[in-house]
């Protein structure tokens, strides 16, 4: 990371010595800037955590009140000085409260994207491109086979299937933070006004979104209902629950999964998904490349995901580009951990 001279790589993740802070560190550190609340980015045990108000609230819900020694809320656009570095947070469009982090030392501007997407999302603030010299980007879906800009069609397919099989329950696997609420909001936007049923792992975060003013309509806990009687209903659950014993109590359930990975057939078949829904909270190939162009950066660093193709593409445009191969990120969508553990 030579030309982003105030940043370096350490086993805990990306570190800024001049400001003495880490970004989304993988292990406990003295001072952490957290981009968003997914568990591969937001971990417990740091001395001092700086993040948006929403991210801090999500961390408290998931990790418990004492998740850090000290917390400090930052609003989008607020300026903050840490050591010799000017720091500000900007919307990333990934989940509620998600932020890109802009850092400047007077000579160089570096932006760390965190996870982000470019598609409109009714449940969070939209991504804002920030002009910079060095852009540190994710590349979860950094291959041109990934294009997921037809979310409305996917919701229409879900509703069509629900009409076609009124005697079957539709279980939609979705990560508890972000994806679940987005799927619900999209269903509401498509005019679906029947109650939507929630797996227990979804309840707290849906309630949090509603307190933030995101309207999700009539939500009912599955736990309070007889599962065998939910024929024809839509149920949102963690992806891991699709294959659980839990799912078998529903009448002839249709297993749907809302994820960018559903673009690849083997991923869907492997999980026994019958109705793959290509709905992603990460930038697709077009989103990644468009964003790199819009930041007008000279150098691209790729934190995690399918880095090779994006690096090749950026170099082809005359940009400097390097993969960082950071380990430990990306499992919020790719994992198989059931129920509560993650998103």
């Amino acid at each position: 990371m030579s030309s982003a001279h105030f940043l370096s790589l350490s086993p805990a993740g990306v570190y800024c010595a001049a400001g003495d802070f880490f970004i989304d560190p993988l292990r406990p550190v003295a001072r952490a800037l957290i981009t968003h609340g997914h568990s591969d980015h937001a971990r417990a045990g740091h001395g001092h955590v700086l993040a948006t108000r929403e991210t801090l609230a999500i961390m408290a819900i998931r990790l418990g009140q004492g998740f850090a020694g000290r917390i400090q809320a930052i609003d989008y656009g607020d300026k903050l000085r840490l050591g010799s570095i000017d720091v500000s947070f900007h919307p990333a469009g990934h989940v509620i409260g998600s932020a890109q982090i802009r850092m400047a030392d007077g000579k160089t501007i570096v932006v760390a994207s965190g996870d982000y997407k470019r598609e409109a999302d009714p449940t969070c603030a939209g991504f804002e491109p920030i002009t910079c010299d060095v852009f540190i980007t994710e590349a979860t879906f950094g291959l041109p086979v990934f294009r997921h800009s037809r979310t409305a069609d996917e919701i229409a397919r879900l509703l069509a299937s629900q009409q076609l099989f009124p005697d079957r329950a539709h279980l939609v696997g979705a990560y508890a933070l972000g994806k679940a609420q987005r799927v619900i909001a999209l269903l509401r936007g498509a005019g679906y006004d029947r109650p939507i049923y929630l797996h227990g792992a979804m309840e707290k975060l849906c309630a949090f979104y509603e307190r933030q003013g995101v309207e999700l309509g009539d939500l009912l806990p599955v736990a309070a209902n007889d599962r065998a009687k939910l024929a024809g209903e839509i149920v949102i659950c963690p992806p891991g629950a699709l294959q659980d014993l839990w799912s078998r109590k529903f009448p002839d359930p249709v297993a749907a999964f809302a994820s960018g990975w559903m673009r690849v057939r083997a991923r869907a078949r492997q999980r026994g998904v019958e109705l793959p829904l290509v709905i992603s909270d990460h930038a697709d190939w077009d989103g990644l490349t468009q964003t790199i162009v819009e930041t007008r950066c000279e150098k691209v660093l790729v934190t995690h995901g399918e880095a090779d193709a994006l690096v090749h593409w950026a170099r082809g445009r005359g940009l400097a580009a390097e993969p960082l191969h950071l380990l430990g990120y990306g499992d919020e969508e790719a994992d198989s951990v059931p129920a509560e553990s993650e998103a």
């Binding site: 086979v145 083997a266 078949r269 492997q270 793959p276 193709a309 090749h312 593409w313 380990l327 198989s336």
Partner: protein, 560 residues
């Protein structure tokens, strides 16, 4: 084409057999002729045209997409047709495509049989431009001859049978006289016309299959009620012969599923056609014999992998049939006779035939299950002699069993020998293909060997199955989080005395190999268990494998 593509897409995601049947019979019901007939032909592998080569498709896509991005995408997706379907650039909105009549499956089938190689590339590009992603995927699967969607020809015929209230075997009986788009077949099934005439002189008799035996079964089965024979490691085939209406003799070789494989084995088919019987159906195992010795499956595989059957190939890999059963002879259907009686007929058939490419699968005599267990452990000492390495276990057949198509319960059992196992350390991983594509699922593993600088891991094999779906995702994550180095698509996994993942590998045998650094090559290795608990330094050593080679002789017989 759109409806057909939608059917394939849904079949590919439908896990249950019943669900697949419902999707297919629905499709046959609501799709008009001849589209449904061509779809049936596609599903049963009955369409014949020159398949498009992978090279042609790569050429089309790399003309439109950066070759490096294509290769990286292909490595991830693991399937050429799917990669190209996803990457194919959508034609501009205002192009004329939207106004054309939608592309039909029959257009494609006719186009394929009419066009030469040069036109194929141009036609294909045009077709791809006119389809959506699912359509492109289905088209590419079709024209590369790789429609693997979990539907066998038998299942498609079963769906068809449901349509007309018939049994699958009734379909099977008329099938070989018919050709796409099967207008007469659908007319019969829908009660509009009489049963199509198909006095096929050499019909396929649906094969009888065995269940795997379980330990508890032995308590209930009387040894005296059963015959035992070796389970040969070749290809189960059926030879059928008969006289056509014009007096000409028709002889065919079928696979276990009824696929006509005569073309791949002209040497054997000619021999069967020359037998001194005009009318028969014979069940057996296709094997390669050299100087009367049965060659291991790896040798047969070398013949199977060739696209053309040259004279040299036929001479180097002579195909034989080792006969198991006789279903039809001289106009008599023997299937309703008990096995013991059919066996008698078979013995005299083979003796009479006196053909050097046809012999009898010998019976293994035994009085108790314990004695048979000994034979299973050591076939060489129980009559198999030098052929032991081509044996994968035993077949147990009830002496009074009639020949029932399919896999009836309680009549025939297979008793495979136990695999060998070794604890090895994961060294390299690559992304897989098919069901495992896009995950790291091809694993190279090694065992310890003492070298000058101390113990080092030496690769001894590759495995890409044996694990559950959930284990596959755990392994994929392990690979991504424990990568030491990247060599193109290959990841080197952290391994050493104090770090690394131990895999329990099961395999069927061991061969000496000069091509492998370790000097050994495993047959049919797969991951039996993931030993998350076992430290890498406690994995097996190369001496364990070398001892196995010595103990069992080249190729190895089971250790039990």
């Amino acid at each position: 084409m759109n409806q057909f593509a939608e059917l394939l897409d849904r079949l590919a995601f439908e896990p249950s057999r019943l669900g697949k049947l419902r999707l297919m019979s629905d499709f046959f019901r609501r799709t008009p002729d001849p589209e449904r007939g061509y779809a049936l032909a596609a599903l049963t592998g009955a369409l014949s045209f020159q398949h498009a080569k992978a090279g042609l498709i790569r050429g089309l896509i790399t003309y439109r997409v950066d070759p490096v991005l294509f290769e990286l995408s292909y490595d991830f997706v693991g399937d050429l047709s799917e990669t190209v379907a996803l990457l194919w650039p959508a034609p501009a909105e205002n192009s004329s495509m939207g106004n054309d009549a939608p592309l039909l499956l029959s257009d494609v089938v006719r186009g394929l049989s009419a066009t030469g190689k040069l036109d194929l590339a141009r036609n294909l590009a045009g077709w791809l431009d006119s389809l959506d992603e699912t359509g492109r995927w289905a088209l590419l699967k079709l024209i590369t001859g790789a429609l693997r969607i979990g539907v066998s020809a038998r299942l498609a015929k079963t769906a068809l049978a449901e349509l007309g209230g018939k049994t699958p075997n009734e379909i099977e009986e008329v099938w070989h006289g018919l050709a796409p788009p099967y207008l007469d077949l659908f007319a019969w099934l829908e009660g509009r016309e009489a049963r199509p005439d198909s006095s096929d002189p050499a019909p396929f008799c649906p094969a009888m299959l065995a269940h795997a035996i379980e330990t508890k079964d032995f308590d209930e089965l009387p040894p005296s009620g059963f015959s035992a024979e070796w389970k040969w490691d070749g290809i189960r085939v059926q030879a059928a012969s008969g006289l056509a209406a014009n007096g000409r003799r028709v002889t065919r070789l079928f696979s276990r599923t009824g696929e006509d494989v005569s073309g791949a084995f002209p040497d054997l088919t000619d021999c069967m056609a020359a037998l001194p019987f005009e009318n028969f159906s014979l069940d057996g195992e296709l094997l390669i014999l050299r100087e009367r010795k049965v060659q291991p499956f790896s040798v047969l595989q070398q013949r199977l992998n060739r696209k053309t059957t040259s004279a040299k190939l036929l001479a180097d890999f002579p195909a034989h049939v080792r006969a198991y059963d006789l279903m039809r002879h001289d106009g008599e259907d023997l299937r309703a006779l008990p096995f013991a009686e059919r066996r008698g007929r078979l013995e005299s058939f083979v003796a009479h035939a006196s053909c050097e490419r046809l012999d009898l699968s010998p019976l293994v005599s035994f009085v108790s299950w314990a004695e048979l267990a000994e034979a299973r452990k050591n076939p060489a000492a129980f009559g198999a002699g030098a052929d032991a390495e081509a044996i994968e276990g035993l077949m147990l057949k009830r002496r009074d069993s009639i020949y029932v198509p399919g896999r009836p319960k309680g009549l025939w059992y297979k008793w495979k020998r136990d695999p060998f196992t070794v604890d090895a350390v994961l060294m390299y991983a690559q992304r897989g293909h098919g069901k495992r594509s896009s995950y790291y699922s091809d694993f190279t593993f090694g065992v310890w060997r003492d070298e000058e600088e101390g113990a080092r891991l030496v690769p001894v094999g590759k495995a890409y199955f044996g694990f559950t779906d959930a284990e596959l995702r755990e392994l994929d994550r392990y690979v991504r989080n424990n990568t030491a180095n990247r060599f193109g698509p290959v990841r080197e996994i952290i391994h050493g005395e104090s770090q690394g993942l131990v895999l329990e590998i099961a395999f069927e045998g061991l061969n000496r190999s000069s091509r492998h650094k370790s000097g050994v090559a495993m047959r049919f290795p797969r991951i039996a268990r993931i030993r998350w608990d076992k430290p890498a330094r406690e994995a097996d050593r190369i001496e364990n494998l070398q001892a196995l080679l010595k103990e069992t002789g080249l190729g190895g017989s089971p250790a039990g």
